[in-house]
């Protein structure tokens, strides 16, 4: 039972650890292969019992020593409860369909987000603001951290088992699929004061210099979050923490969305170069949720 590393077993199972994540796993409807308690973790058995004993959940409940548990645990102070879960498999067509409770699909595409903490936080935010699904893709320069890695799973607070995820898709194929399904692609460019009227403004994006973004995209295509019509079927593209989205992806996107930021009154320079990738994504998904909610 490999709790470390987050690499699925041959059967596609991943390990989750800690009371809260095991609860989320049991609640998620994902297939559970086993639940494991250490000696000192056995005290959590009572609180999980109602979920474990449900008849449709037939899986072995295993016990081990504290020492053995610590040996396989990924955390420093393990709570002594873990589960092997098979996350539901989704196809890209599943996440592109119109959801029953929203005007149109809203996908989040992680293209090169390398920090598992950022990936997990984005999953949590995407679920909170009702995104239809998340697709992880590699770019030429960098892969995206596995959404099922222990650190991503913890940062997601269980959302990795709740929101539909298509992981490890080739970015080119995904972009073609989105085009064929008339889903607008929105490239994130996060930097300083730059409105649709001033696309030549200063600032760095999630790695993509806004000058590049501006040269790659017409002024009409670079929008502030509140200028975007989030009720359209959309895929929000989030790039690498350092290098941002590849230039050809920004060029090929239907629109760019840019979060304006504060500048120093003395110099007009940005106070900070960019936002954290997960913070920027939270801002954009909040804006999307706000618009979608007000139109319902």
């Amino acid at each position: 039972m490999a709790l470390r590393g987050g690499v699925p077993t041959d059967g596609g199972a991943v390990g989750v650890e800690g009371l809260r994540l095991v609860e989320e796993a049991l609640r998620s409807g994902s297939r559970i292969e086993a639940v494991l308690f250490s000696e000192s973790g056995a005290k959590h058995r009572d609180s999980l019992a109602p979920m474990i004993s449900r008849r449709q959940m037939a899986f072995p409940v295993l016990r081990t020593t504290d020492r053995l548990f610590e040996g396989i645990a990924d955390t420093e102070h393990p709570q002594g409860v873990a589960a092997l879960v098979v996350p539901r498999k989704y196809e890209v067509t599943d996440v592109m369909a119109r959801p029953e409770d929203a005007c149109a699909p809203l996908l989040v595409v992680l293209a090169g987000v390398q920090d598992p903490g950022n990936v997990g936080t984005i999953l949590r935010t995407a679920a909170a603001f009702g995104a239809t699904g998340v697709v992880t893709a590699a770019t030429g320069q960098s892969g995206t951290a596995s959404p099922f890695a222990p650190k991503a799973m913890r940062a997601s607070a269980g959302a990795a088992l709740q929101i539909p995820i298509v992981s490890g898709m080739a970015l080119g194929i995904l972009l073609t699929q989105l085009k064929l399904n008339a889903i607008r692609t929105l490239a994130t460019c996060v930097g300083t004061e730059m409105s649709a009227a001033q696309p030549e403004g200063p600032g760095l994006s999630l790695g993509v210099r806004s000058e590049q973004a501006a040269s790659a995209t017409s002024a009409a295509r670079t929008l502030a979050p509140w200028e975007v019509d989030w009720c359209e079927a959309s895929a929000l593209l989030v790039g690498n923490e350092g290098a941002g989205l590849p230039e050809d992806v920004v060029k090929g996107a239907d629109q760019c969305v840019h979060i304006p930021m504060s500048t120093l009154p003395s110099s007009g320079q940005a106070r900070v170069e960019s936002l954290n990738a997960a913070a920027a994504t939270a801002v954009l998904l909040y804006e999307a949720y706000r618009q979608r909610k007000s139109r319902k």
Copy 2:
């Protein structure tokens, strides 16, 4: 030279490590006590030279071996460049003053935010959205991570040296000062669908159950982010990742702000219990910046 731990020296200096943070330190106008290069880090000397050689910056530039550098470095693959910086000292009266470029002060008060990554990300977001300053405070239950700890400093991308910070204030004294200075306190309560009209809705906050929040606060005091008038002088109170803000702090706050979140169409239940503390703060500070910008 203690790069680890983030505990200031007797002279109040903290260590920062890596090319980007050292650049930010040199740019910040903070007093530099020394810059240190390892053998392999010496290659960065050229890019920093214009800033190091400025006459007003008189400090020793030290060299050391790679091995010694690795011994004091906090990161796994150090870049071989570090600095000892004395962050500027601010008094709470500094951060409560009206800034020259905004309608009113906007403070962020971290009361029990324990993860240094969250603290750093919040500092970065606060600087990006033009907050006037950040105050860190301990609650009865939990302290706030040091904004100058290496992990917080890295997550802040240097913003810890840019935005005014008052660290380690007693929360009670701070709240009194805010009241005396007519700065409205806004307690963050982040959970599921709950508007000002339905304060009894389900959901968990940054630890504070919204039921508690609702019982503690009148309906009129619990607002969605867009219902808050962010042009008023405000202090946004952010609580512990698990336990949230202490109940008496929520009760004593002038208003509660609550980020609505998506629910499952089948059950009406929240998709996730709460947002990450830094993601929630990003959403609120974005909303504040958007309002302040549009009124300028």
